[in-house]
C-alpha cells in the first residue's frame, strides 16, 4: 500500500499516451491448457534455452521461495535455464520505460500492478499482450475475476478491461487481527456479525480500553474507512468507484453511510484521536505490544505479527459481514515486447502458477492465487489463507481506496484526519474528497 500509493503518483502521466499496444502474443500454441500441473504447459514440443527473469523480492520472501520452486520445475521440464537478475523496484520504476525499448531486455519481469505502473508500460507498448497465452494455458479460467482485474489494461493503461499484460501469482487483502487474550480477559465474545463487532468494541470502551489500533497519518485509517464503505456497498459501487463504470455519489449511498459509521466509531471512542498523527508502524508496534485488542489492516502484516507476537494468541477474521474487502492481486509477471523467448517465458509463468510453486507460497503465508490451503501446517497461516480463498471465491476483492485517481492517497489520509480531529463534519469531509475525486476522474477519462 505504501509503495502503491507512491506509485500511483508517478505515472498517470502516460495514461493518455495512445501508442498502439504492440506485440500480439505471437504463438503460445504449444500450451496444453495446464496451469495446474507443473510440466503441463511446457512439455514436449517446447524446447527452451536460457531465459532471463528480473524481480525485486527479498531472498526469504514467500514470492522468491515459490519462484525458486518454479525455476527448478521449469528447468527440469524444458531443459532450459532461468537466469535470475535481482533488481530494485525503485530502479526499475525509473528505468523501465527506457530499458525496455532496447534489445537487452528480460524475458520475464516482475512489475507492480496498477494504473500508474504496469498500466503505464502497457499503454506505451512496452509489454507483450498475453491474451493468446492466457487462453492456451487457461489462466483466464484459473485466476478469479477480481484477480484478473489487475492483469488487464486498456489502451490508456487503465486496469480492468482490455488485453492481458501480466499474470499475478499471489495476492493480498485487508483483514481483522485480534488479541485473543484481551477478548478472554474482558469476558468479551469474539464477534461473528457486524452488530456483534460493534457490541464487542462497545464492551472494550466500557472496560476503559480503546479497542482499535489505528494510524491516521498513513494508509490504515483510509482502509478502515473503505472497509466500512464496502460494508454498505456492492460490486456495482466498486466498479463505479474504481473502474469508472458508472457514477459515484458522495452525498448518499455507500460512501455517505460508511463515513457516517466511521464518524460514529470515532465518537464512541473506538479509536484514539491521537491516531491522527500516528504512522502504520506505530499502529503495528502498539498492537504487537498488546495495547489494543483489534487491528484492521493488510495481510502484509501477517508475517511480522505471526513472528513477533509472543505474549498473546493472534486471532484473525474477515471483516464481519463484508462481502467486499480491500485487497487485490500481488505484483505481476510480465513479458516485455522486445523479449526474445516469449513462448518460453509464458511457459515459465505458467509453471509459477502451477501446484508446486503455489503450494510453496501457501506454506509460507504468501496467499497463492491458485494454491491448496490443505498443504499448510501452521495454524495461523492456514486461517489467513482460508480467509483469502473465501474472499476470492466470493469475488470479494475491492482494491484500495486511494487507487482510483492520481494523488488520492493524500486526500484520503487528510480526510481521515479531519474526522479524527473533528475539524470537519463527515459531509464536509466527503464533499472535499468528492471534489478531488471527480476532478481526477475527469482528468483520466477526459470527460
Amino acid at each position: 500500500m505504501r509503495i502503491r500509493s507512491a506509485l500511483s503518483a508517478v505515472a498517470v502521466g502516460a495514461l493518455a499516451v495512445t501508442m498502439a499496444a504492440c506485440g500480439s502474443g505471437n504463438g503460445g500454441s504449444t500450451g496444453d491448457g495446464g496451469g495446474s500441473d507443473a510440466s503441463g504447459g511446457a512439455d514436449g514440443e517446447l524446447s527452451c534455452g536460457e531465459i532471463t527473469f528480473w524481480h525485486y523480492e527479498g531472498d526469504d520472501s514467500a514470492m522468491n521461495q515459490s519462484w525458486l520452486v518454479a525455476i527448478d520445475e521449469w528447468e527440469a521440464a524444458t531443459g532450459g535455464t532461468v537466469t535470475v537478475e535481482k533488481q530494485t523496484f525503485e530502479q526499475l520504476q525509473k528505468n523501465a520505460k527506457i530499458v525496455l525499448t532496447g534489445d537487452d531486455v528480460p524475458d520475464v519481469m516482475e512489475y507492480n500492478k496498477g494504473n500508474g505502473t504496469a498500466g503505464q508500460l502497457a499503454s506505451q507498448g512496452l509489454l507483450t499482450e498475453l491474451d493468446d497465452y492466457a487462453a492456451d494455458y487457461g489462466w483466464d479460467s484459473v485466476l478469479p475475476s477480481s484477480i484478473q482485474t489487475t492483469a488487464r489494461y486498456d489502451e490508456d493503461g487503465l486496469m480492468g478491461s482490455g488485453p492481458w499484460f501480466g499474470v499475478p501469482t499471489y495476492g493480498e487483502y485487508v483483514t481483522v487481527y485480534y488479541n485473543e487474550e484481551m477478548f478472554a480477559d474482558n469476558g468479551i465474545e469474539v464477534p461473528t456479525t457486524f452488530a456483534e463487532l460493534e457490541a464487542a468494541l462497545d464492551a472494550f470502551v466500557a472496560a476503559g480500553i480503546t479497542p482499535l489500533a489505528e494510524a491516521g497519518a498513513e494508509y490504515p485509517m483510509g482502509q478502515l474507512w473503505y472497509q466500512l464503505v464496502l460494508h454498505h456497498a456492492d460490486r456495482d459501487f466498486v466498479d463505479a468507484f474504481q473502474l469508472f463504470d458508472g457514477d459515484v455519489d458522495f452525498t448518499s449511498g455507500p460512501l455517505k453511510d460508511g463515513t457516517d459509521t466511521l464518524q460514529e466509531w470515532i465518537d464512541k471512542g473506538y479509536i484514539n484521536p491521537n491516531a491522527s498523527g500516528l504512522t502504520a508502524e506505530d499502529m503495528g508496534v502498539a498492537f504487537i505490544a498488546g495495547k489494543y485488542p483489534v487491528m484492521v489492516s493488510g495481510s502484509w502484516w501477517f508475517g511480522r505479527l505471526n513472528a513477533e507476537i509472543s505474549d498473546f494468541t493472534l486471532g484473525q477474521m474477515i471483516f464481519p459481514e463484508n462481502s467486499l474487502n480491500a485487497g487485490s492481486s500481488g505484483n505481476l509477471l510480465v513479458i516485455p515486447t522486445n523479449a526474445k523467448e516469449k513462448d518460453c517465458a509464458a511457459s515459465f509463468i505458467d509453471t509459477a502458477l502451477a501446484q508446486g510453486a503455489q503450494n510453496k507460497l501457501a506454506e509460507l503465508g504468501g496467499l497463492p492465487v491458485a494454491g491448496d490451503a490443505s498443504v499448510i501446517t501452521d495454524e495461523n497461516v492456514k486461517v489467513l489463507t482460508q480467509n483469502w480463498d473465501a474472499i476470492v471465491a466470493d469475488d470479494g476483492l475491492a482494491f484500495y481506496p486511494d487507487w482510483p485517481v492520481a494523488g488520492f492517497y493524500d486526500q484520503v489520509v487528510s480526510f481521515g484526519q479531519s474526522l479524527l480531529n473533528g475539524s470537519k463534519t463527515p459531509d464536509q469531509a466527503l464533499d472535499t474528497l468528492g471534489t478531488f475525486y471527480q476532478e481526477g476522474r475527469a482528468d483520466i477519462t477526459g470527460e
Binding site: G13, A14, L15, V17, M19, S276, G277, D282, G407
Partner: protein, 326 residues
Amino acid sequence: MSNDAPSIIDPTAAPAPSRGRAPTPGRRPSTRVYWLYLLPGGIALTVVIIVPFAMNLWYSLHKWKGGLAPMRWIGFDNYVDLMSDDAFWRSFQNSLWMIVAMVIVPTLVGIVLAAVLFDVVGKNIGTRTASFLRAVYYLPQILPIAVAGIVWNWIFNAETGALNEILRSLGVTDPPNWLGVPGLALPAVMIVLVWIQIGYPTVIFMSALQRVAPELYEAAEIDGAGWYRRFRAITIPQIRPETFVITLTCTIAALKVFAPIYVLTRGGPEGSTLVPSYYTFLNFFDKSKIGYGAAVATVLTFVIIVVAVVIQSLQARAERREEEGR
C-alpha cells in the same frame, strides 16, 4: 533551482563600496581576456539554472501529465487557477511562519548566544569551552535531516513519544497530539526548524565578533559603558553585514524549505503544514500535474528573487547611509 544563492550572498562582495567604478583607460584592452574566465561559469549557469528555469516556465504554460503524454498549451490558465487555490495560498502563508522559525527567531537567539559565548564564556571560562559549545549548537546543522526528522517524530509521537511521556510523568493527563492536530503541527515543525537553524547564525556571528576591533570595546568600557550598552552600540552595528547575509540566506532557505516537512508531516495533518516546495512536489509526482506544479515553482522562484532583491537593496542603502555618516 536557487543554487544561485551563494553568488548573491558572497559576504566578501557585499561591503566593497569602490567596486563598479569606471575602469582606468589603460586596462581596457585586456578586459576582453577576462571574459574567457567567465566562460565555464557562464556555461554552468546556462545549463544548471537558465535552461531548467526556462523549461519550468514553458511547462507552466501547459497542461501536461508528464512522461510521453501530450502537452497542451493553455497559456496562463495554471496561474489563474492558482489564484483561487486554497492550498496554494495556505502554503505561502505557512512560508511566513517558516521565516519566523528559520530567520527571525534563530537570528535573534543566535546574536545573543554568540555574544554570550564570545564575551562571557570565552573571556571568563575559556575559549575552548566557547568553541565546544559553538560546535554543540552547530550539531543539528550537520545531522542529516532525515535522521533528525525520525528522531523528532519519536519525540513528538502522541502515544509513545518522549515529550508526552515527560508531560504524563508531570501529571498532564491528556498531553497534546503534536503532529496530529492542525493547530499544533505547525508550531511543532517550527520548533524543529529553530533547533536546526540556531547553530548557523551563532557560528557566523561569533566569527563576526572576532572581526570587531577590540579598541572599540575598550574605549567604551573606559567611558563606563556596561555590557548591554556595548552590545547595543558596538556589537550590533558592527556585525550588520553578517546580519544581512544571514537574513538573506535563511529567508531563501525558509521559502524553499522541503526536507523537514517531508520527513516530519508530509504537509499534513489536513494540509496544515503545506509549504510551496512540497506543494510543487505533490503536483509533480503525486498528482502528475506537471504544468500546475511548474506554475507553483515559478511563482516561488519569483517570490524568492523579489525577496532577495529587497534585502539586498536594504543592505546597500544601509551601507550607503553608513558611509555618508562617516
